[in-house]
C-alpha cells in the first residue's frame, strides 16, 4: 500500500477499489477482497435459501453461494445480460459471489478522499456503506463487504 500526500487535499494510504454498477450507481469494494470476476454461468437455486441468495455455482469444483446484490440493496430485480458479472469475494472467512449489473474498473483512492456516507437510510440498510468518494463522473459508494450480511446470515449461507 503506497502512501501519498498530494496538493489536492487527499492524504493517507492509497487503497484500490474494484467498481461495479447496480442500477446506474457505481459502487466500490476493496480489491483485496476480490478473488475473481466471472461471467454469469448456471446459478442453481437451492431450497430453503434466504431471499438474498440466488443459488450456488460450481467454481472449479467448489460450491460458491451467489448473493442477489440488487435484492440486498433494496433495488428492483433485473434480467441477467451480457454485462452481468459475478464478483467472487472473500469475506468473514467465506468465499461468496455477488451478482452485479457490470464491473467497471479498478480505482485508487486515498483514505482522505473517503467521506462518511450521509446519514439518510435506516441503520439496517446502510450499515454496509463504508463511505463515499466524490469523483469527476459522480459519487462512488464504497461497500464494506464484511457488513453486507449479519453474522447470522453469514452462518446461514455457510450451510451451502
Amino acid at each position: 500500500m503506497a502512501y501519498t500526500d498530494d496538493e489536492e487535499g487527499g492524504s493517507g494510504p492509497l487503497i484500490q477499489f474494484v467498481t461495479f454498477v447496480l442500477m446506474d450507481e457505481v459502487y466500490g469494494i476493496n480489491v483485496m477482497q476480490v478473488q475473481e470476476v466471472l461471467r454469469v454461468t448456471e446459478i442453481a437455486p437451492v431450497p430453503g435459501a434466504p431471499a438474498y441468495v440466488l443459488g450456488i455455482i460450481n467454481l472449479r469444483g467448489n460450491v460458491v453461494t451467489v448473493i442477489d446484490t440488487r435484492k440486498r440493496f433494496g433495488l428492483p430485480p433485473s434480467e441477467v445480460d451480457d454485462s452481468s458479472r459475478i464478483i467472487v469475494i472473500e469475506s468473514e472467512n467465506q468465499v461468496v459471489g455477488i451478482l452485479v449489473d457490470a464491473v467497471a474498473e479498478v480505482v485508487e483512492l486515498q483514505e482522505g478522499d473517503i467521506d462518511a456516507a450521509p446519514n439518510v437510510g435506516t441503520e439496517d440498510s446502510s450499515r454496509y456503506i463504508q463511505g463515499v468518494a466524490t469523483r469527476e463522473d459522480g459519487l462512488l459508494i464504497l461497500v464494506d463487504l464484511n457488513k453486507l450480511l449479519t453474522d447470522e446470515e453469514w452462518q446461514e449461507i455457510n450451510m451451502y
Binding site: 448456471e42 442453481a44 437455486p45 437451492v46 431450497p47 430453503g48 435459501a49 434466504p50 431471499a51 443459488g55 450456488i56 455455482i57 460450481n58 469444483g61 467448489n62 460450491v63 446461514e156 450451510m159 451451502y160
Partner: protein
C-alpha cells in the same frame, strides 16, 4: 465406573482439540468407555496433525478398535462428521425436481416410487405440508408437499402450478415426497458431495452434489421433521 483416561486416550483428545465437532464426538466416545465395559485400550494412534484427513483416519481407527455402543456411535458420527457410513462405498442417488429445483435422494433411503394419483384424499387437521392420503395397495401413504416442507420461502400459490407426478416413499413407505419429475439415477463417491458440517437448521440437508449443483436430501432428517 469412572477411571482416568489412558495415555493413549489423552493423546486422542489432544488430536481432536482443534475441531469442535470431533471434540464432541470424542467426548461421547470417552464417556462410553467410562460407563460401560472397558474396550481393549487403543495402543496406537496417528501423530497429532491439523489435517482433517488425518483426523478422520484417526477417528476411523478408533471406531474399529473400540466396541462401545455402536448405535450411539453411529448417530454421533452422522451428526458431526457429515459423511454417513453408507457413503464410504460408492452409492446411488435418484435425481428429481421439485418446482424447478434439482434435488437428489440416496437410494438407500428410498422405499419405493409411486405415481401420484389425484385427487388425493384430504383429511382435516393435517400439518401444512400434508396434501392428503393416497392408497398404495392396502397401505395408506401420507402425501407430503415437498414444496411446503423444504421451500417455505416459495410463493406457494405460484409453486402449486407445477405439476407433481410421483411420490418418493420414505420412512417405511408411510410417507411420500411429492416430486415434479424423475431424472434418473447416478452413482457417486463420497468425494462428489460437499457434506454438511453439522445438522444445522435444515435437518433435511445432507450436502450438495458439486458436479450437479444438486442438494442431496438426508432421508432420516426428513423423516424426523415429519414426525415432529
Amino acid at each position: 465406573m469412572s477411571q482416568p483416561p489412558s495415555k493413549s486416550l489423552t493423546q486422542i483428545q489432544n488430536v481432536a482439540q482443534p475441531d469442535e465437532a470431533l471434540l464432541s464426538y470424542l467426548d461421547t466416545l470417552l464417556s462410553e468407555i467410562d460407563e460401560g465395559e472397558m474396550a481393549p485400550p487403543v495402543t496406537s494412534v496417528k501423530a497429532p496433525s491439523a489435517q482433517a484427513d488425518t483426523l478422520e483416519q484417526t477417528v476411523g481407527e478408533i471406531e474399529t478398535r473400540t466396541e462401545t455402543a455402536p448405535g450411539a456411535l453411529a448417530d454421533v458420527t452422522r451428526r458431526t462428521r457429515g459423511v454417513p457410513e453408507w457413503a464410504e462405498l460408492p452409492f446411488q442417488v435418484l435425481l428429481f425436481t421439485v418446482n424447478g429445483i434439482n434435488l437428489a435422494v440416496p437410494l438407500i433411503g428410498l422405499c419405493g416410487i409411486l405415481p401420484l394419483h389425484t385427487p388425493i384424499s384430504r383429511l382435516p387437521g393435517q400439518p401444512h405440508w400434508a396434501l392428503g392420503v393416497q392408497l398404495n395397495r392396502d397401505a395408506k401413504v401420507v402425501v407430503v408437499d415437498t414444496r411446503r416442507l423444504l421451500m417455505p420461502e416459495l410463493d406457494i400459490a405460484q409453486a402449486e402450478r407445477s405439476e407433481q407426478t410421483h411420490l418418493l416413499l420414505i420412512g417405511n413407505g408411510e410417507r411420500g415426497l411429492s416430486v415434479d419429475s424423475l431424472k434418473g439415477t447416478i452413482t457417486l463417491e463420497k468425494e462428489a458431495v460437499r457434506w454438511r458440517g453439522d445438522a444445522g437448521q435444515r435437518p433435511w440437508y445432507a450436502g450438495i452434489i458439486v458436479e450437479k449443483l444438486t442438494v442431496l436430501l438426508d432421508v432420516d432428517g426428513v423423516v424426523e421433521m415429519l414426525a415432529a
